[in-house]
Symmetry: D2
Subunit: 264 residues, 4 copies
Amino acid sequence: MAGTKYQYVKNFELPDPLLPGTFMVYRLDGHSFHRFSDEHKFAKPNDLRALRLMDHAAQNLMEEYPDIVLGFGESDEYSFLLRKSTSLYNRRQSKIVSTLTSYFTSCYVLYWPTFLPDTPLRYPPSFDGRIVLYPGEKEIRDYFAWRQADTHINNLYNTTFWTLVQQGGETTTQAHATLKGTISKEKNEILFSRFQINYNDIDPRYRKGSVLVRTEVPEEEPADKTEQQKKKAKKKAKPRTKVDLIHCDIIKDQFWNERRILEQ
Amino acid sequence: MAGTKYQYVKNFELPDPLLPGTFMVYRLDGHSFHRFSDEHKFAKPNDLRALRLMDHAAQNLMEEYPDIVLGFGESDEYSFLLRKSTSLYNRRQSKIVSTLTSYFTSCYVLYWPTFLPDTPLRYPPSFDGRIVLYPGEKEIRDYFAWRQADTHINNLYNTTFWTLVQQGGETTTQAHATLKGTISKEKNEILFSRFQINYNDIDPRYRKGSVLVRTEVPEEEPADKTEQQKKKAKKKAKPRTKVDLIHCDIIKDQFWNERRILEQ
Amino acid sequence: MAGTKYQYVKNFELPDPLLPGTFMVYRLDGHSFHRFSDEHKFAKPNDLRALRLMDHAAQNLMEEYPDIVLGFGESDEYSFLLRKSTSLYNRRQSKIVSTLTSYFTSCYVLYWPTFLPDTPLRYPPSFDGRIVLYPGEKEIRDYFAWRQADTHINNLYNTTFWTLVQQGGETTTQAHATLKGTISKEKNEILFSRFQINYNDIDPRYRKGSVLVRTEVPEEEPADKTEQQKKKAKKKAKPRTKVDLIHCDIIKDQFWNERRILEQ
Amino acid sequence: MAGTKYQYVKNFELPDPLLPGTFMVYRLDGHSFHRFSDEHKFAKPNDLRALRLMDHAAQNLMEEYPDIVLGFGESDEYSFLLRKSTSLYNRRQSKIVSTLTSYFTSCYVLYWPTFLPDTPLRYPPSFDGRIVLYPGEKEIRDYFAWRQADTHINNLYNTTFWTLVQQGGETTTQAHATLKGTISKEKNEILFSRFQINYNDIDPRYRKGSVLVRTEVPEEEPADKTEQQKKKAKKKAKPRTKVDLIHCDIIKDQFWNERRILEQ
């Protein structure tokens, strides 16, 4: 057969399985989104339309890939937790990281006009992805705590910075100088004393980031099902789930105690 | 600082550099494109609009990433050759494979309406990507020969199959049976004797696939440049390049002898 | 400096860190030990001298590498558990696997004359090693259970086989045929009814394999130490440990409950 | 069967194949040989007995593993080149690196009494190993040039240093100070003007290191072989080879031009 003599090149494809029995965290980041948000005139410090688009793409990804049990997003990045026992694409690293990044990107571009109808895309946005393995529940808790702590730090800074510029009349250079070396308490104080803004009153979406959780949907049974049909349905059915967006604390225990995210 | 105590989770990110001094081939494939092409009613055996969109996305990718020196596409897959000495993203595997796949996907979705204006996207298409390393020029030649031989085999089969169905009135089941076990010569014979189709007259785009080559663009110098400006320009400038689409044989030597693709 | 222009070749050395926070199991196996045991006329089914040499080499390895918290050996193989948080050689895979295998081999050859004084080494024996990562305690328990179950299966077979040959007068071919398809109970029955051997009376060394556990040695304080010296000693000292060889069940809970092997 | 339920732990063994079509360089280094050479009172700057033992172990390794086509040793390290197309142990990294290191170590310990009959081993010596992949011939040439340049630098320094101490009556601290910042020419000058030593007259073994090359041995045919036997022998036989030790320049072209080391 034509081509047979070239097939040896397939031998250079090396396996890249990820260690079984570990949690995968898949994280994606916008590629050069500093420039991208400038070019598309994103509102500062947070562009609600762009954040909603991120959430929507992430939600779509979780609906397409049931093995993702948790998502957390802030700004132009999103982290997803896959259940420990997932055998998605036989745990092949390149396959997983490329496919998930592709699907997310596809959603982002496809639904862009829905969320930013007045802002045509000037060029194709892209994302990079990576997978990090964590062996235990503690590390997973700490990973998500790390991201949400980061959200807090960034958002407090950005909120104060842009308030100084937009309401305080400072140049960006001046605002940088004003904030240099300040700790959280001082930023809160600037917001409150100079602009009567209580940081804790700001929309939790910005302060806490976006949390996507999967919950089971109780299946309604049609009244006229035979016993046979019921048995069959019971056997087959994975419970249907839906993905909810919330903006809550995921550092403390409560969030995790109320859900069985890590036991799947 | 808040978050500091969680930062240890970064230690679980392991390095994934690709061996220096080797050619990278990056290949992407449409994910479940059998279903995707059905849902979007792609013409059989080849949908010119969809192929042009693939080529356009690939061309965009090569324009964005100058280290890609060659592209080859057929159907819903594309292979790209990166020059041996590339240090793109420090040769980190996940970063490269995710970013390139994301960028291609983004182009595919963004330019879909341009190429298939009458066919709205029904759901987000996605691609998977992989990187294979090849140490030498021979393997690179054979890799691309392998893909083009595959193009030939698939296209001859599909062309004959769909001619039997579309012009010969066979069902798809019948057409499968007709072709079962046939060799190339027999498929050519079916096309010619029953349908007066000379396979070699078919558009080379379908028979040879799409080849994207990068060529240098001679920079025109404005007449009024000072000597100083010229020197400066000369020093800085990487030669500008453009990416051309052709449909030619890449198995034989001629294609390679006429270009310095592997010496970069 | 001479040599500077060649130093780029160091860039081809790629990092190979093992995932943090996971247990490493390091296992070594005799290389072609079927032939080796024939050439050195090892007693069948078990050569006590050779097994003691294996245990001695393993004990030495554990004394040299305090991060090894458990060893299990049977025949010409040995498995070692490293504590989860070990940072031995920065968890570099090749470094660990090569160094441990080298050290074990070195002990095996060096102490050979001590354990087999009448049998000169006819050629250099060698071992291969590998590292397998396990994320959790359950997998570690099951790993060692797997090896001990294997010890049982092999030893019951070999004991019966060689009894048939040595005491029953069968050829090896006949003994193979006699045992073909037999289950454990039937082998026990052959031993008991034909040779009056109660398998459970056989030395646990053969039935259970060799278990190496590390225990703390209480440090005696010399009577004349000053308070200053005591404080200093307290501060510095990791508790001294010794490595004990036992032959006991490691499948059931008792062994693990009595020790804190996995919590280190 | 007993043990079956534990067998899943085998799934945690991940494949580790090395890229085909590349040269493997396997390098081993003595582990803590500074202390080891002190404890065993190695002569300074070079201990001929210990170097001969290294060479002997390396020669044994090459005789055992015909896929090694070149060896280069200095001090307590040795590098080995495997032919590009080797399929030794299916190119599995851990298997190769552990087995080769084990075999070398085994030879080193086994033949120690032959080469250092008056110096009993005080404790088990060990080595670490690593494999580095190189895609092309140029990198292989440069790798070995790098090691030989290193041999030169180290040996010139050590020779001058120990001459200052042994013949010049300097303390080691003084000798360090004397040599600090000196270039090669100055070390040569110290040796010549103060001690009448022409560095180039020193044994090439020390100046050039040890080079192990494999050469074919013409097979003598017994006179009484039948035609049939000859045919069979011809078909089966890999040419027999032997491994020669030389001490020559391997940086310049001559060494490589006279042999077909890289073309195997």
